[in-house]
């Protein structure tokens, strides 16, 4: 998509060369591709039109045609405009403010199934990690087992998430039976919870509410009355990142009736282009604070407009990839690896440790898909987690000596390792041969950028005759974890440089 966009721009703008400035019709023509890209990414129709108008205006003011690559320059403008729009209000936002006197009160709201209950747990984990004590209250008395679900989530945060403080749960499951027969029951539960929170002296109270349609007046009134009685400091709207055009209607109504203070985009770990982010930002004006990136309770990240902008334009999410890598691999470690690679001194042991950190980062394909231009290239490369398992098994069955230097692997050693790992002896031979080749390649590759590396990786894939896809997949990675490649990989920085 990124390439297509860029090419589209280039061809539309090529016609201009020689002419000093860009004409409106030329820009408009070039913008057609952007419009399509945004619509395909699920940005709402009217929002797209408005956005494109803004771009046309911006582009007219700039002399794009004189640039050597007008197409890329235009994308730079589009990309930056997307970032600017989505960033508004998100910079230096405290996330969840700390209010005195305590407790800070946060209310979740949103359509059914968007991820409110899970996000309550994620927020609690986020706050726990920062030393803040939390109480979560189950104000969803409607969905079957919603109270159980939240209670379990609270227990999981307590048991599994880092941080010293306690996460309390408040629920009145017996009220579920009365719900729907009388009004204001959820409000009452929230009031009781607030009292309990004050008594316990917790610093943040998070209210989980039932999912509801924005057009269900009765249920929307329930939220308004919780809001009026409890006066939350933050009302957060949870939006499914896969939402289509209708995001405009639901977000607008929620915002009109509840004055949303912040947005959380859930399920961003899917392969959605995530255009709803732009739509929701536009209609609510509220900052997008976090994105949900998985079902686990630590799968929530702060919002970064440049990543989402890249994704909407189909450029991949390089920054996330690099950051994920950095989370797992310390800078010194990465430097050390890069150096070893450059010298061709990488051992199977290093390889295994790299593989393990990669493992923690998530499924390989998802990771690789974040690199621009790779999403499609990946179709040819088979990166298989199972294959990684087998390699790990083989490396584990080797002695320290063998791991340090695969050259010592003779037939009897290979047979032993194969038995230990429960694989065919051929696979062990393949691994050692591949590793040998990899060491050579990495030496050559350590000077290249990501694109070059991937090219080399695919070449190697071919040379290996398939099957050992995992090797090809992993060996390009250690270098990517270094800060150096971070810089060249960031699309934002690239655009800035060009200006």
């Amino acid at each position: 998509m990124f390439e297509r966009l860029s090419d589209g721009f280039s061809s539309a703008l090529k016609k201009l060369s020689g002419r000093g400035s860009i004409s409106e019709s030329n820009v408009r023509e070039a913008m057609e591709d952007v419009r399509t890209a945004l619509l395909e990414a699920d940005v709402e129709y009217a929002t797209v039109n408005e956005f494109c108008e803004t771009i046309v205006e911006r582009a007219l003011g700039q002399d794009v045609t004189k640039s050597i690559k007008p197409g890329q320059e235009m994308i730079g403008i589009v990309h930056q405009a997307l970032i600017d729009l989505m960033q508004q209000g998100a910079e230096d936002h405290p996330g969840v403010p700390k209010i005195t006197p305590a407790p800070t009160i946060v209310m979740m709201c949103g359509l059914q199934g968007t991820g409110k209950t899970t996000t309550c747990g994620k927020l609690a984990a986020y706050l726990k990690k920062r030393g803040r004590s939390v109480m979560i209250v189950a104000a969803d008395l409607q969905r079957p087992a919603a109270v159980d679900q939240l209670k379990t989530v609270a227990e999981q945060v307590n048991a599994d998430m880092p941080g010293g403080s306690q996460v309390h749960f408040y629920g009145e499951p017996d009220k579920c039976a009365e719900y729907g027969k009388a009004v204001g029951i959820a409000v009452k539960v929230c009031q009781n919870a607030l009292k309990a929170a004050r008594e316990k002296g917790v610093d943040t109270l998070i209210i989980d509410t039932a999912g509801r349609l924005h057009i269900n007046n009765e249920l929307m009134k329930e939220l308004s009355s919780i809001k009026k009685t409890i006066r939350p400091h933050q009302t957060l709207l949870v939006v499914d990142a896969m939402t289509g055009q209708d995001a405009v209607n639901s977000a607008r109504t929620f915002h009109q009736q509840l004055a949303v203070d912040g947005v959380i985009l859930s399920k961003f770990d899917s392969d959605t282009r995530g255009g709803a982010a732009l739509t929701v930002k536009k209609v609510t004006g509220a900052p997008i604070l976090f994105v949900g990136t998985g079902e686990k309770l630590d799968a929530m990240e702060e919002f970064h407009a440049e990543r989402v902008a890249g994704r909407i334009l189909g450029m991949g999410d390089v920054v996330s990839l690099v950051e994920k890598a950095q989370d797992e691999v310390s800078e010194e470690e990465a430097e050390r690896m890069a150096e070893k690679m450059a010298k061709g001194e990488l051992t199977l042991e290093d390889f295994l440790s790299q593989m393990k950190s990669l493992r923690r980062m998530g499924p390989m394909k998802q990771l690789m898909g974040m690199i621009p231009g790779v999403g499609s290239a990946l179709k040819d490369v088979d990166i298989d987690d199972k294959q990684l398992d087998r390699i790990e098994g083989m490396v584990k069955s080797m002695t320290a000596e063998e791991r340090k230097d695969v050259k010592v692997m003779n037939q009897s050693r290979r047979r032993r390792v194969a038995r230990g790992a429960g694989v065919n002896v051929n696979e062990v031979s393949k691994l050692t041969k591949q590793f040998d080749m990899m060491s050579k390649m990495t030496r050559q590759m350590s000077g290249m950028g990501i694109k070059g590396k991937l090219g080399a990786m695919r070449d190697m894939q071919g040379a290996a005759g398939g099957g050992m896809g995992a090797m090809g997949g992993t060996q390009g990675m250690p270098g990517m974890a270094t800060r150096r490649s971070t810089k060249t990989a960031s699309p934002k920085r690239k655009f800035k440089k060009r200006k």
Binding site: T36, L39, E40, A41, D42, E44, Y45, L111, Q112, G113, T114, G115, T117, Q142, R143, P144, A145, A146, D148, Q149, L150, T152, V153, Q156, L213, H214, I215, D240, M242, T243, G244, Q245, D246, A247, N249, S250, T253, K267, D269, S270, D271, T272, R273, G275, A276, E295, P363, K365, Q366, D385
Partner: protein
């Protein structure tokens, strides 16, 4: 027929609410079209409506290009003719024979239900269970979502309310093992229907998709011809990502039909048109609320009416 009428009135009710909710939204299509002949503006408006209903740019522009061709060839010339043509073209995508449930010749009919997180699987299973129970069939539910907090309990509460049996395992246990036990139970108890609830999973998560295939394979091994139906639950608010969902789930478990949920909101669910373009998977049911009664067989004509917003000016029935 009663069901059909129910469907129409429910979707209309939804539309009426839509109208209230959308202050200053697009006016009724019928008003817009009244007495007009086709021109570029009109075609653009139709395309906009299709895109706003999540049909997708590509599909929408293909449909409108076709229409333009018909117009240039002199086969349609008024706005009403154009919409009628579009409507029948869309409705024809889902012929009746594709929309019925396939039942086993003998022995239990296995219905495997899957979809991304929060799409509405568990609730839709309650709906199907209630629908089939009302038809006099004996139903067993299998709680194969052993992962999400409260998931087993949620299905269990539905089973109690509807009055059907449930087979469950331990929280965090192996879902394939639950599927196995459920198949045995269905056989042993001579159940007519076994409906399998699975954990929500994103189509991009390969290991979880493999787990789903494994669950499917277990039913195949245990029960002749199973699964007889593989239902992908799709949230009508979903945008173009639904196409990827349909492709990936089909790759893993050969989806036989869609259950389109949350059509009681303001979203139109138009992405099923794009899904049909890519996969030919028919829509079989729609969800129009949160209770077990809020289910209807999919009716293409009603759906397409709502999709184009062409009912806006009619009184709700």
């Amino acid at each position: 027929m009663a069901l059909l009428r129910g469907a129409i009135s429910k979707v209309r009710k939804g539309l009426a609410r839509t109208r209230e909710a959308l202050t200053g939204g697009v006016g009724g299509l019928r008003n817009f079209l009244a007495g007009r002949s086709i021109d570029d503006d009109l075609l653009r408006e139709l395309e906009a409506r299709l895109i706003q209903a999540d049909v997708g740019v590509k599909t929408a522009s293909r449909l409108v290009t076709d229409l333009r061709g018909e117009w240039k060839a002199g086969r349609v010339d008024t706005g009403d003719q154009a919409t009628d043509r579009l409507k029948s073209q869309l409705a024809d995508l889902w012929p009746a024979r594709d929309r019925s449930i396939t039942f086993a010749q003998s022995g239990p009919t296995v219905i495997l239900v899957a979809g991304v997180n929060g799409a509405g699987k568990t609730t839709s299973i309650a709906k199907l269970a209630s629908l089939l129970t009302n038809q006099g069939k004996s139903v067993i539910l299998a709680a194969c979502d052993t992962y999400r907090a409260g998931a087993v309990r949620q299905l269990e509460i539905w089973s109690e309310r509807i009055g059907v049996q449930i087979v469950k395992g331990a929280q965090g246990g192996d879902p394939a093992a639950v599927a196995f036990d459920a198949c045995e139970a269905a056989l042993a108890r001579n159940a007519d229907i076994l409906i399998i609830d699975t954990a929500g999973r994103l189509h991009t998560q390969d290991p979880l998709m493999r787990q789903l295939t494994k669950i499917r394979d277990i039913t195949t091994r245990k029960i002749d011809g199973a699964p007889h139906e593989v239902i992908l639950v799709l949230d009508a608010t979903t945008g173009q990502n639904a196409v990827n969902q349909a492709l990936k789930f089909t790759e893993a478990i050969d989806v036989t039909g869609l259950f389109l949920t949350k059509l009681d909101g303001t979203s139109k669910g138009g992405v099923v048109v794009a899904v049909h373009d890519q996969t030919s998977i028919p829509v079989k049911f729609i969800g129009v609320g949160e209770t077990p009664e809020d289910v209807e067989p999919f009716d293409p004509a009603v759906f397409v009416e709502a999709l184009l917003g062409s009912e806006d000016d009619q009184p709700a029935a």
